[in-house]
């Protein structure tokens, strides 16, 4: 097993190698560079596309469901010892949910599958480029309502 980045809050990035992180972040930065010179309409389309991009959690959930269901079925119909495989798969998934690592993770990261937080960074970078945050400045005084309300509108809440 590879190193664990103990200071990384994102539990998937925690277990991603330096090389894979460079490639994944590099892809995001290339996309930002590409859309810098595009019209707002093209950026809108890209943001819509990013919202539907499959995050790594969906792949991992489907993976553990496939492994767990097939081995559980074999344990019920053939040999109960298949249950040990079910237990192992689910124990790893529990480890993923709490700390981050899961056996399929290195492969999925090698393929460039991103976390939702990574996809959201690209979305907000494109929103910055589109000018969504142009009117949002740090409040000059302790209570500066208009600035805060503009920030709420920019993120759409």
């Amino acid at each position: 097993m590879q190193l664990r980045r103990s200071d990384e809050p994102d539990r998937v990035r925690r277990y991603t190698t330096d090389n894979q992180l460079r490639r994944i972040d590099g892809k995001t930065e290339r996309s930002i560079r590409l859309y810098l010179s595009q019209s707002p309409e093209v950026i809108d389309e890209r943001i819509a596309e990013l919202r539907t991009e499959w995050s790594i959690e969906r792949f991992l959930q489907l993976n553990v469901a496939a492994v767990g269901l097939s081995t559980a079925l074999l344990a019920v119909t053939r040999n109960r010892n298949w249950g040990f495989a079910t237990c192992a798969g689910l124990a790893f998934f529990l480890l993923h949910a709490t700390d981050g690592f899961d056996p399929p993770l290195p492969l999925l990261r090698q393929l460039g599958i991103r976390t939702r937080a990574e996809i959201d960074r690209e979305i907000y970078a494109l929103k910055v480029i589109r000018g969504d945050f142009d009117d949002v400045n740090p409040p000059a005084e302790p209570v500066a309502r208009p600035e805060v309300e503009r920030a709420l509108r920019a993120v759409g809440v």
């Binding site: 689910l90 945050f133 920030a151």
Partner: protein, 152 residues
């Protein structure tokens, strides 16, 4: 419901009331932290990066239930595997459509999706000034600077 999150599959299956409450919490937090000193704001953004989103909560919940079924199925009675089967069936449904039985419960408890957490995070980053001065004299900002601003 807001159009920008319409593709968030968990939000699609969130009751209007729960969604309003989740959004109200986000708005309240942004208004509260926006006017705090820089150090408090930094700490809040770091905290948001550690916040457990609904996928993580559901995965923990599903793996504990399914693992319990599998351990009992292997060691005690194979009928316990039906618990494992049911939980993993629902997890498949969640991965594809965004809904599974515990979703309404966790949503009512205020557990947010990653996209909702990121709304608060990026609003606070904007109010911290992270996206200021990226565009110099109306020129396009460089991709590296934008990347740096969203990663920080």
């Amino acid at each position: 419901m807001q159009d920008h999150l319409e593709m968030d599959r968990v939000r699609r299956h969130t009751s209007a009331r729960a969604a309003v409450e989740v959004d109200e919490t986000t708005r309240r937090n942004i208004r509260l932290y926006a006017t705090q000193p820089r150090s408090v704001l930094d700490e809040r953004i770091a905290e948001l990066e550690r916040e457990r989103d609904i996928e993580q909560v559901l995965e923990t919940n599903a793996s504990i239930l399914a693992l319990t079924g599998a351990v009992l199925g292997t060691a005690v009675d194979r009928r316990f595997f039906f618990l494992t089967g049911a939980v993993l069936g629902f997890l498949t449904q969640h991965a594809t459509s965004g809904w599974c039985p515990p979703v309404p419960i966790f949503r009512a408890l205020g557990v947010r999706t990653q996209a909702e957490i990121d709304q608060e995070k990026f609003a606070l980053k904007a109010l911290r000034g992270d996206f200021r001065n990226l565009k110099t004299d109306g020129e396009r900002p460089s991709a590296a600077r934008v990347m740096q601003a969203v990663m920080a």
